[in-house]
């Protein structure tokens, strides 16, 4: 009893809320849509009646009363959308319909203008119709559509979870014509798990080019139900004429609801499909959704009026040309560019460009396409052709033509560029009309092969490698050895010279010390009055000094040598010192104090002269 009162309260509250929502909506006209799913069940199962109210204004919605059917509100959802500043509110009321017996039941519309719904209830465990009973409808009158429901030009799947739609701007095209198309795949939020592949065209008579790999994604409300619509863009082209029906197919994984449990309170709470998904009231299934057939007529290109140079380009195009430089030197290359812009099948846009004539030497053009959209339908194709002016003077590049078929005017068109003027001057080092430059041997240029100078006579002289010899290891090794030898020799010579200088310096130092010692001995002998010691020390001092000068050993300096080699005023005095020293060693003669001083001065003067020298 208590449960029943709770159910009645819920029904009253839901209907009141629906009425309030309908009354509170603004701007849009109120509308009510009702659907029942599935439309065929067995006794013991339940169907789901969805009452969708959208728009604004007061609208009376009452639950239908059908003998043999029990209606119970199990859930309600409300959505508010802002479209171009207008508020659109939609309320979805989910009612569980439970049959009490088998038969065909007609459920009257929830509003006076709503169409009736039909529920077919089979006996439990069978699908026969012989025992069907109901409220008057016959099985032949069931409004069952296998392809699903058609709403707003969109054909949904039978469970209303997804749709595929082809948007094509025209249904009459020409062979080879490129038509931009959009393939939309709509998936109801919460009902479709994934898209398992790209949309596939079910026709071998058409080509689908440049299908975008990443579709655009946008939310969309269809009959108040939230959908996410994925849009692919591509270019469609027909390969042969005829009448065709185009369909696209997309593999999807959808969630299918399992049958509700009759007496489950949880089922009532999980009336919302999203909650049903969470709590495992659905299963996943791979399906393939197909778009409605789109009729299209492919016309052949007319043979009448077809220009000779027509290459199959269909569309709308414009042509312009430019040149890399309006002033040039004969023999230098120029680049002629032709720009073909517009919309159409650019893969068939070709041009031979400028042909060879007496004024220009031309080469094969190269083409590049710059697309202005992701599908390559609009853009610019640029042809670049190298040219060489063969003769100097004022030259004109003639207009370039491009033939195409315009599906708008339904006839062949010829686009022409403007002529281009180029001033070609003679080469700086050659007068106009001078013969071509000669090679080193004085031979003329080989005109038969594009201005190349002629071949050379091949000699037998060959080398093993192109590497310059001074980068080869053997050359580097040889140079290094030579450099080391010379460097080592130079260092050795320098060191020898330095050593010799050092030896001389040491000798001088030793001689100087010895001289000082001898001078000290002279001074001591002079003080002591030792004539022999004084004269011997004086002689030794002079031998050291003269020996260093004459580069002979001091012992070899004798009186005779002094007589022979020494020059100057002191020659006799020095010779006399040598003689007195010999005499003093044997005679023991003494010297006077003045003599000591005089011989000391002579020796000192001699030392000073040698030091100065």
């Amino acid at each position: 009893m208590r449960v029943r009162m709770l159910r009645q309260s819920a029904v009253i509250a839901a209907i009141a809320l629906g009425l309030f929502a309908a009354a509170a909506a603004s701007a849009a006209a109120p509308s009510v849509d009702a659907s029942i799913e599935p439309s065929q069940i067995e006794v013991g199962e339940s169907a789901r009646l969805t009452i969708l109210t959208s728009g604004s204004g007061a609208l009376s919605v009452t639950l239908p009363v059908v003998p043999g059917l029990e209606f119970r509100v199990v859930g309600q959802s409300r959505q508010i959308q802002m479209v171009n500043g207008a508020t659109i509110e939609s309320t979805s009321t989910i009612v569980r319909v439970t049959p009490e017996e088998a038969g065909v039941f007609t459920i009257p519309g929830v509003t006076p203008t709503s169409p009736p719904l039909v529920l077919r209830v089979n006996p439990s465990g069978g699908s026969g119709s012989s025992s069907l009973r109901g409220n008057g409808a016959s099985p032949d009158q069931l409004p069952f559509v296998p392809g699903g429901s058609n709403t707003h030009g969109i054909r949904l799947t039978p469970d209303g979870s997804a749709f595929v739609q082809l948007e094509i701007p025209k249904h009459e095209i020409y062979v080879g014509e490129s038509v931009p198309v959009e393939i939309q795949v709509g998936m109801r939020d919460g009902f479709v798990a994934s898209i398992n592949g790209l949309p596939k065209l079910n026709s071998s008579d058409f080509t689908l080019n440049n299908l975008s790999h990443q579709p655009e994604r946008a939310p969309k409300a269809i009959d108040g139900k939230p959908f996410t619509v994925y849009t692919w863009r591509s270019v469609l082209a027909a390969v042969k004429p005829g009448n065709y029906s185009l369909t696209f197919e997309t593999p999807l994984t959808v969630r299918i609801r399992t049958r509700p449990q009759r007496d489950s309170m949880l089922d009532d709470l999980l009336g919302d499909p999203f909650l049903q998904n969470i709590f495992g009231a659905t299963v996943q299934k791979n399906v393939s959704v197909t778009s409605p057939e789109a009729p299209i007529t492919v016309l052949p290109l007319p043979a009448q009026g077809r220009p000779p140079g027509f290459g199959g380009a269909v569309g709308t195009f414009k042509v312009s040309t430019d040149i890399s430089s309006a002033k040039n030197i004969a023999g230098d290359p120029l680049t002629l560019r032709m720009h073909v812009t517009g919309a159409g099948n650019f893969d068939r846009v070709e041009s031979p460009m400028l042909g060879n004539d007496g004024q220009w030497k031309t080469y094969e053009p190269k083409a590049t396409f710059n697309s202005a959209d992701p599908i390559g339908y609009r853009g610019e194709k640029v042809f670049e052709q190298p040219l060489i002016a063969t003769q100097p003077g004022a030259r004109t590049i003639p207009p370039l033509e491009f033939n195409y078929f315009d599906p708008g005017t339904r006839r062949y068109e010829t686009a022409r560029s403007a002529p281009l003027n180029v001033t070609v001057s003679p080469p700086a080092d050659l007068a106009a009309n001078a013969p071509p430059p000669a090679n080193a041997a004085g031979a003329p240029v080989d005109e038969s092969h594009g201005g190349l100078r002629p071949d050379h006579t091949v000699t037998e002289t060959r080398v093993d490698s192109l590497i310059p010899p001074y980068f080869e290891p053997r050359f580097v090794g040889l140079s290094s050895v030579l450099a080391l030898l010379f460097g080592g020799g130079w260092v050795a010579l320098r060191r020898r010279e330095r050593d010799a200088r050092d030896t001389q310096r040491q000798r001088q130092r030793a001689r100087s010390q010895l001289t000082q010692t001898l001078l000290a001995q002279m001074a001591a002998a002079s003080t002591a009055g030792d004539a022999a010691g004084f004269l011997n020390a004086a002689r030794s001092t002079l031998q050291q000094t003269l020996g260093a000068r004459w580069e002979v050993a001091p012992e070899q300096i004798t009186e005779a040598l002094v007589e022979a080699q020494l020059e100057g005023d002191d020659k006799d005095d020095i010779r006399q010192i040598f003689a007195l020293a010999d005499e003093a060693n044997y005679s023991g003669d003494d010297l006077q104090a003045a003599d000591f001083e005089r011989w000391t001065q002579i020796v000192g003067r001699r030392l000073g002269e040698e030091t100065t020298a």
Partner: protein
Amino acid sequence: MNYPMISRRAPWAIFALAVFTFAGHAAQAQAQAQAQAQAGYSAPALYNLANAYARSGKPGLAILNYERARLLEPNDPDIDANSSHVRAAAGLPPQFRSRFERVAGFASPRILAWVGIIGLLTAGVGVLARQVYPRHRRKLLAMALVGIALVGMTIGSGIALWPIMHEAVVITQTAPVRVSPVPIEEPVFELPEATIVRMIEEHDGFVLIRTQAGRTGWAQRANVAPVVPKH
């Protein structure tokens, strides 16, 4: 066509052209390099081969062989003229050679190598003799300076030719250049045929190149051929 003349003069050139007819450019360049390495190199033969490629409409291989011929004969005006002609016909800018390069290339590197050896000997002997014979120091100093000048000419030639040792020529119609040496990456720019680039590094079938404009990137090794082949 001038091929019979070539066949009399350089049989390996015809072999290379036959390979060119039936195989890709990379294989052709490799076969040509092997054939040339076996037969030896000469400036006239390389020049004639380049002419043959130019007449066949293959500017990349033509420029490659002109550059190789120029290594052996830097002052051949025919090589310069035909190379400039082919580059212009291919829509490439003229090749710029600095004054230093022109001066340093006044003689063949092979001659300059011997000049360098002679200069080294002259300078060395002059320096040593100057130590031994100090009475002739001035004359020997002049001799040493002459030798040093000869060595300087060789060093200058080496400096001028060193960049060419690392140059390569695009031998295919276009050479896509990528940021990294992986083939699946989108190219950042493309080099036209006969473009001369500098090779910096090699890695796994790719060459890190630098263009004369200073752009760098990885090109497939098969798209370029080094001016100085590695044996």
